[in-house]
Amino acid sequence: MKPIRGSGGAVALAVAMLAGACGPSGGAADAFRRAGDPGEVGAALARARDSGAVVNGSGAPMLFAAITGAGGDQIVAFDLSAGRVVWRQLDQVAARVAVSRAVVVFARPDGVLAARAMSGGALRWTLSVPAGETTIGYAADDGRVYVVTRPAARPRGCALAGYDAATGARSFRVELDGECGGPAARGGIVAVPRRSQYVTFVDGGSGRVLADLISREQAATFVQGTPRGFFFGSTGVFLASRATASGARDAGGYVAAKLPSFVRPIYAPDMYRPEQAAYSALDRNRVVWRAVEDGGRLAFARGVVAVHHFRFFFGVDAIGGAVRWAYVHPRVDAIASAWVGDALLFVAADGEIGALDAVTGRRTFRASFGDGTFLVQGVTFDAEGFAPRGDVEPAADLVDALAEILWDPDKRFSDVKLFAIEELAKQPGPQATRELLKAMDARALPYLISQKALDALVARADPGALDVYTTALRQHADYADDRPAPRLSVLARAVATLKATQAVPELVEHLRLPDTDLDAVAEISRAVIAMDAVEAVPAFTDYLLQYRADPELLERPDALIAAANVLLRLGGARERAALLYVLNDDKTLQAVRLHLRGHLLGGDE
């Protein structure tokens, strides 16, 4: 996404230049001399006024969607509690919508900021950034809109300007040193990330710099203003406070989740990258979180973070990383999501809106503004506290949900399918075993995933799955029925792990079949030896005698040696006599004779 650049052209609405904007915050040394002072940071944060759960002037939980389709590019305002579109306007939204009490603000593709009235959506004002400046980002609180720009003349600095949300009149402009990221705002306080390590708190009315927080232990690439305070961080989340004025992780104000391996720990867009100010695939592939203070320490709400991965949502235990629930949205991607109260809100590309219970994953809400003529490009939510209580669908059984992911025909999600296999392996019960077995044999799945299923199955050692294994072993390759052979190696290992001697007859039956590969024979032999399954000896005797002189096994005698080992370990006098015959007969392959000589006669191999 291209950075938003100042047009330098005419401004649609005259902007009054107010005097009294603060001057530059000084040189680098002055700017951060008192960075990390707990008192200053605490005092700055205490000035934030309570602006309520939602910011928009209607007081209702809302979402604002940028859509594109047959009717052109539009912005849509949807009232979640009323379940209806409040207004829609033709306009091009190039970067995220910011919400104020009176207006919503967004950048257009030409860089102009447009403000549309909260009631009705009429255009209230537009703003072009000063010529020679590049917009880094913008934010809004209940009363004002704040814009951070980088002047071309001061590439290592930035400017923060505040504007009255209702009128677009500028309240202040302050020059700041150091590279800046896009701002966040709440209750009259603006937070500006600076030099990747600092967060500067500024009075939203005057532009006076109030305090600098320093994140010593982790880069601070994002900051968010919420009713619960300002959060910042990069690979984890800090709650800005006196305690975290220096960004100490052990001060109780820091939390990071244990995430599945396929998930990038992106808690929020990087505000130093203007392209991430636009709606993008990042909104569909991220961690969705809500942090709260719990007994004086910061924690993720309900101990859960959600992973949003295109069509999939996972509720993950934030501490242990275990998956608690999974939800698969059918057919189209979920474009945006947000955690509001106890619900995970999302909007799909076709305009369907949903909410999931954050703890159970149960679908609790369904609405739509889709009409089949557009696609949603991005959504901003202003819905803090929205608490749908419906029971639209029962929570999907986790095994069923993981299986649905595994068999989803969308080929984009190999990494998620691998994850689904890993999680299936952790679920008890025969149903999970059945899905893993199916995955092992599925030609529709990439080889890596089938292999993963195979390994997971063996490691599982689920005694309740014995019937599943036995059924799988009874399956023989058959061209007429278009049936492949089962994965004997893994089934043999699984049976041996369980010491399931009941399955030995089905296991050794495969020795007499032409499709049984040599590795499987070796694996079966190891399994029967491990289980002390003497009933397998006749089948291995048959195998050894049948193939002992077959030159096709000259390069791969390991299966024959494995068969001989079964007779050596489990056989009696009759088998020993058979082995002596095999040893002494010239037709037997040399490698087998050498092996037997070593074991029967104590000779060197």
Partner: protein, 290 residues
Amino acid sequence: MDARVRACLAVGAVAGALLCAPASAPAAPASSAAKTKAAKPTPVRTRRVAPLPQERLANLGATLLGGDSAAAVAAAQELGGSGAPNAADPLIEALALGTWPEVAQAAILALGRLRESRAVPLLTLYAGNRNEVTRTAAVTALAQIPDDRAAGALFERLGDASPKVRAAAAAGLAERKDRRAVNRLTKLFARGDEAAAAALGALAPADAVPGLAELQGRVSDDTFVALLGEVLKREDVPDPLRVDVVDLLAKIPGVVATAALAEYLATAPADGRPSLGAAQRVMDDRGRTP
């Protein structure tokens, strides 16, 4: 004394698992449909053949077990061709103790020629051998043995990955007139298996033929002709059905369809049946077509 038991004792119960207890074999499918019935075993020609002299038998047996592969093959062939009631024992012993593939194949085919029922478990084992030629030989041999236990392996090998093995199994079941194979043969036919098509044509109930004809287009013309050609040859199908079959063949261009019609004309009894006239007209038209 049973040769198998002798082999058990002679080598200290070497290969006792094979020789002294029957190898496992899949059962032939139960005849679940009212229309299917177990095939009658192929009548064995009873011909009094003298047993081989003990010395000769012993020599042949030793050669079979010996270190000269070519000689062993020749010994197997002699035993198979002898028809002697005691010729099977050394063959069974050789297979039970294991040998080179080419010797095994010769021994297997010999047991088939001898129609030796005692060899069915062993041949069933070798019907699952990794070597395609060995499997084909075992299936061919089993098909010759008038023992219903043999059918199980034939049914199973209809699902073999090798088309040659499937073809041998299909031909064997057709030769045995075992209609229990129709369902599996139909699956193979639908997958375009030409050998299965011929067997199916020989075995399918007459009233199933129209349904099979609807698969035309899903299988190659040659496969479809293989089915129809066999149907034509059957005496147990009504002639109006043969006429329909001739009409179907008439619509298929090429030498294979022409050959099927020609074979029918050459082999069918000259009883003036309408299907013969229809076939002749088609041939005449094909002859006139430039």
